[in-house]
Symmetry: C2
Subunit: 347 residues, 2 copies
């Protein structure tokens, strides 16, 4: 079992999570709706931090909750005790074993906040530190680079959002969540296209990766896969932040990857993506509407009809497949990235 | 007047701010201490977003306040109305003219939150949208790349922290703030060293930039200067996040810049910085204790004795000077970066 198998397992993994988490999610929602959190604090690192970024948009847009991303070193190195009594405190970690993430949950619990762990290991220290545990049931993830646990983490965030007040049950969130498995299956059919483009791109050594709104998280996660698997110096930016300075990096032939599925973030990114073409950047764009995306560069296609708020669950798939095949095209081993290990314990 | 003049102006700029902002800061502190904000929300982009990152650590560690960084597109593209009624809402922007940042302040005001603008233009839309305005008095900033307004923004954050409850007046915060001008003057004496190292480094095209704790903001800001001025693909990371994956980029000769002044963040970064040397990375490290830093790579020296929480005001100076001289060593014009303009209006 290797990285590619785990990428292909993603439809099953989210279906298992949907089936196995109903009572936990209901309990969390009941507790949260009773306490009415003033804000959400999320502690996470690496790939899990990108699930936290996604949660920032989902809870902000759909549940009217401000989400703060924790700075764990404020607690572990500087002894801070940020006021958390009215908060919902989430820790997201595949292994559940990084001491700094556990420390944030412990502080929340000490102050009486509602604490929730999202982890693939229900017996981990993170799970032990939380009031409630959303276990991902993604199965053991053997590859160092996280893929199926990432989409499962996003799915857990989506389940929580749908169950919380303001989460729009009535507008069909549950039905949309049930569709994710099917969308993931369709998205996986992009593999031959991703393999072909990656094969042409075997010299890719640096690029920026752009996204906006919900899919800013996707840009960050795609960049991380390219860094850790294919040793690409991939700089992720929100498309808006990119215009505030880093745009100066642009020169003819400059490589840009972008996540631009149809919807409000595509409209907001279009002027920039068109400008990149005018300046002769070489773009590769994840799109769900090949007509709207015409003239933006080479395309990696998503299935159409995905609910906008759930797009990041699906739009990372072409990115994972591209990173996997690029790694192989470069003669590297996607199952054994150099220098890093599966569980990283930072303090 | 060019970029270098504005770098050299920084000691005067913070002294002007200290002298000119007393009554505003006192009014903000009185209002905040009366309302006891449940959390802080900060809207900012580009360089100003790095001042927001600094504020995340300062308010978190010294004032026990959780700081959330706003995702303006949630409001402007998706029509979100995140709950802000108990919050302190800050907008940080040199020009005060980016519509998405203004939108966050307007939403805060509509919900009755205490809103504060930190800007170099007291007549800007951002200033008009806020209850209180901390005007930076940094003087017109002509260079596209922000330098003196960045350190002035950090200083404004420091002033607010010292005046808010829990801000440790008694433990000498005011005296420490008064020392910043002198520390900046000392830091500027590193210029010949920065110029020499930049001259040797004229082929630098990609690197990572590491920092942790308060100086994570410095790593981000240094990377942005290198991107926009010297066209370096500079990837910033918190040293802890770097270990969760991107460490795989490491190979012999890999370029690492690090911000590692003495204090708790240096202790936490030392094992990683030593490992980088063992793996034959080529490091350039901003340090305040050359003995502690021995064996970590080439050093850029800071004055010693800087209060740890105010270090980022000073530790960016060698980074600015290095970026300026690297730009010149590459034959580029630091006063006219390509492609970008001084005021960026994102929606």
């Amino acid at each position: 079992v290797g990285l590619r198998d785990e990428i292909l397992e993603q439809p099953d993994a989210v279906r298992r999570l949907l089936a196995g988490s109903r009572s936990t999610i209901e309990r969390i929602a009941a507790a949260a709706n009773r306490r009415r959190p003033t804000f959400v604090l999320i502690a996470a690192r690496g790939t899990s931090d990108h699930a936290a970024l996604y949660a920032q948009y989902v809870f902000g847009i759909r549940n009217s909750l401000v989400v703060a991303l924790a700075t764990p070193s404020a607690l572990t190195l500087f002894g801070a005790h940020p006021a958390l009594d009215g908060a919902l405190v989430l820790g997201i970690s595949q292994s559940g074993r990084s001491p700094d993430i556990v420390a944030v949950l412990e502080e929340g619990r000490r102050q009486g906040a509602l604490t929730v762990a999202v982890t693939n290991d229900g017996a981990s220290p993170l799970a032990g530190a939380a009031d409630e545990v959303v276990e991902l049931h993604a199965g053991v993830e053997r590859a160092t680079a996280a893929t199926k646990t990432y989409t499962s983490q996003l799915f857990a965030v989506g389940l929580m959002s749908a169950a919380l007040e303001g989460g729009d049950h009535d507008r069909g969130a549950s039905a949309e969540l049930a569709d994710v498995g099917g969308w993931l299956e369709q998205a996986l059919t992009v593999e031959p296209q991703a393999e072909r483009l990656a094969g042409q791109d075997y010299e890719l050594s640096q690029c920026v990766v752009l996204g906006r709104g919900y899919d800013y998280a996707t840009a960050r996660e795609w960049a991380l896969k390219l860094q850790e698997l294919a040793h690409v110096m991939a700089l992720p930016f929100s498309a808006a932040d990119f215009e505030h300075g880093p745009l100066a990096l642009l020169e003819p032939g400059f490589r840009v990857l972008a996540v631009a599925p149809s919807g409000r973030s595509l409209d907001a990114q279009l002027p920039l993506l068109r400008r990149l073409q005018v300046e002769h950047a070489a773009s590769l764009v994840v799109v769900s509407d090949s007509a709207a995306a015409r003239g933006l560069g080479q395309g990696l296609n998503l299935p159409s009809g995905i609910a906008e708020w759930l797009t990041p669950l699906v739009s990372i798939v072409p990115g994972q497949l591209f990173a996997y095949h690029l790694t192989r095209a470069k003669g590297l081993d996607p199952d054994r990235p150099r220098t890093i290990s599966k569980v990283t314990e930072t303090r």
